[in-house]
């Protein structure tokens, strides 16, 4: 495994050079974690069970604190580090990568928007691996649409009453804390959304259904009902102000984190396949000089280099501090998600075609292509590409000069 080639800290921590991540250390942590993931990935996929061994290792290795600033005891990493780690973890298990990336997305929101008191209380616990964060943003009626919520927070003096049902909560049965979107107290419309943090201990949590899917099985993304009360200062950002958090932080990190995972899954699949193709045994069976074979192999790799280039460019742009609310920035970040979800799925589909039934389609094949294909089939659905194109179309109309980010 190679150490990430370059590192650039984000605008938020650039003033604190001591907080920069030690890349060799990060690579070692990731290496140790991948060994744990490889050991359990087959079973968690088969049984659609959350990777508890991976969760324990994430806590132990302090990687859950990757984006927690050093002043709170975290690793002080940037979005670039998050992307790199997510890609590496997803090489062996897309679900493990997603669990990590989505946790980081929550941490970033807390770091930037939580009140000083909440930051002080929570960030050190996250850095110490005590708090795995789950995101509760889905509603039965609206799917993954971030900017509206059906159920409202109720104000009770200086406390907020939560009663929230969500159809999909990744890792919800194992999370220690939840970032929940709900209508602001007394909201005039479903578009006035607040983000509120709740500790598991502050809630009554109930898993109200199962998770039995084609792929992404180990995310154990169950439907849940969460009820309870939290102090009013556990609202993250201002009441009704979730749209700002979504556009500045939540959506960019989601798109970058998810895309990094999909790229990792496809890269892992290609790496295992190329290693197999190069083995002495396989070389005797196959004509590696075949024009069709080499051309197909090239197209697969092209898809991954393309995806990586788009992700890296978007990371550069995001870290440069450019306003992520402008149409061109939003279009770029949406393009990351659209491109990664299409290209990585296509790459693994073509890998299956390349190596055929035995290596490509059997569950027992060490190449694990069938699992990668099942996992990546979720990529265009995970915040549906159709919906993203619909939003992009409107953004295109807002930018008649066509200034590309």
């Amino acid at each position: 495994m190679s150490v990430p080639a370059r590192h650039q800290v984000g605008p938020a921590d650039s003033a604190d050079p001591a907080g920069r991540v030690d890349l060799t250390n990060l690579a070692n942590l990731v290496g140790a974690l991948r060994a744990v993931i490889r050991e359990s990935a087959d079973a968690t996929d088969r049984d659609a069970e959350f990777p508890v061994a991976t969760l324990a290792a994430l806590r132990r290795t302090s990687l859950f604190g990757l984006l927690v600033p050093a002043e709170y005891g975290g690793l002080g990493g940037s979005v670039r580090d998050m992307v790199w780690v997510s890609t590496e973890l997803a090489r062996d298990c897309t679900s493990a990568g997603m669990i990590f990336a989505m946790h980081c997305q929550q941490v970033a929101a807390l770091t930037s928007y939580a009140s000083p008191a909440l930051r002080q209380a929570l960030l050190p616990r996250i850095a110490h691996g005590e708090v795995y964060l789950a995101s509760v943003t889905t509603d039965a009626g609206k799917g993954g649409h971030l900017l509206s919520a059906e159920q409202a927070l109720a104000e009770r003096g200086d406390r907020l009453r939560i009663d929230r049902t969500a159809p999909i909560v990744t890792g919800g049965a194992h999370a220690d804390g939840f970032l929940i979107t709900m209508q602001a107290p007394g909201a005039a419309s479903a578009g006035e959304v607040s983000l509120v943090y709740a500790d598991r201990a502050q809630l009554h949590t109930e898993v109200v259904g199962g998770w039995d899917t084609l792929g992404m099985r180990a995310t154990e993304s169950v439907p849940m009902r969460l009820t309870g009360e939290v102090p009013a200062d556990q609202v993250v950002g201002r009441h009704g102000g979730f749209a700002d958090i979504a556009i500045q932080s939540f959506a960019p990190l989601a798109h970058l984190g998810w895309s990094a995972c999909w790229l990792g899954t496809a890269s892992g699949a290609l790496a295992r396949t190329v290693t197999m193709l190069r083995s002495r045994e396989e070389r005797g069976r196959r004509d590696l000089t075949s024009e069709l074979f080499l051309t197909r192999l090239s197209r697969i790799r092209q898809r991954l280099d393309l995806t990586n280039a788009v992700i890296q460019h978007a990371v550069d742009t995001f870290l440069s501090g450019m306003d992520p609310t402008t149409p061109r920035q939003q279009l770029l970040l949406n393009t990351v998600k659209l491109t990664a979800s299409e290209q990585c799925l296509a790459a693994v589909d073509e890998l299956v075609e390349l190596v055929g039934l035995r290596h490509g389609y059997q569950r027992q094949s060490p190449l694990r292509l069938e699992r990668a294909l099942r996992d990546l089939r979720a990529a265009p659905l995970n915040y549906a590409n159709d919906r993203l194109h619909f939003a992009d179309g409107r953004l295109v109309l807002l930018d008649p000069e066509v200034r590309l980010a």
């Binding site: 190679s2 190069r278 002495r280 070389r283 590696l288 000089t289």
Partner: protein, 83 residues
């Protein structure tokens, strides 16, 4: 350079006359080592020496001459043994 290394490379150099020696500093490309031959040669090296050259060694500099290629193989072999 290992004496058997030259023998390993020779079959991949179609412009090297049978009766000519392979000079350690002769440019392999002009002796016939194209990209496909380089892959075949790489497989032969992996099979004979049991080493896989790391990505960052797979540069045109490494494949320039028999000497440069041998240095890369030998260095990787020593690192592999040390690990």
């Amino acid at each position: 350079m290992d004496s058997s290394f030259a023998a390993l490379i020779r079959p991949h150099l179609r412009f090297l006359p049978d009766d000519a020696d392979l000079a350690p500093d002769a440019p392999l490309r002009s002796l016939g080592l194209d990209s496909m031959q380089a892959i075949e040669l790489l497989f032969d090296i992996e099979d004979k020496y049991g080493v896989v050259l790391p990505d960052d060694k797979l540069s045109s500099e490494t494949f320039e001459t028999a000497q440069s290629l041998w240095q890369a193989v030998d260095a990787t072999r020593q690192q592999t043994e040390a690990a």
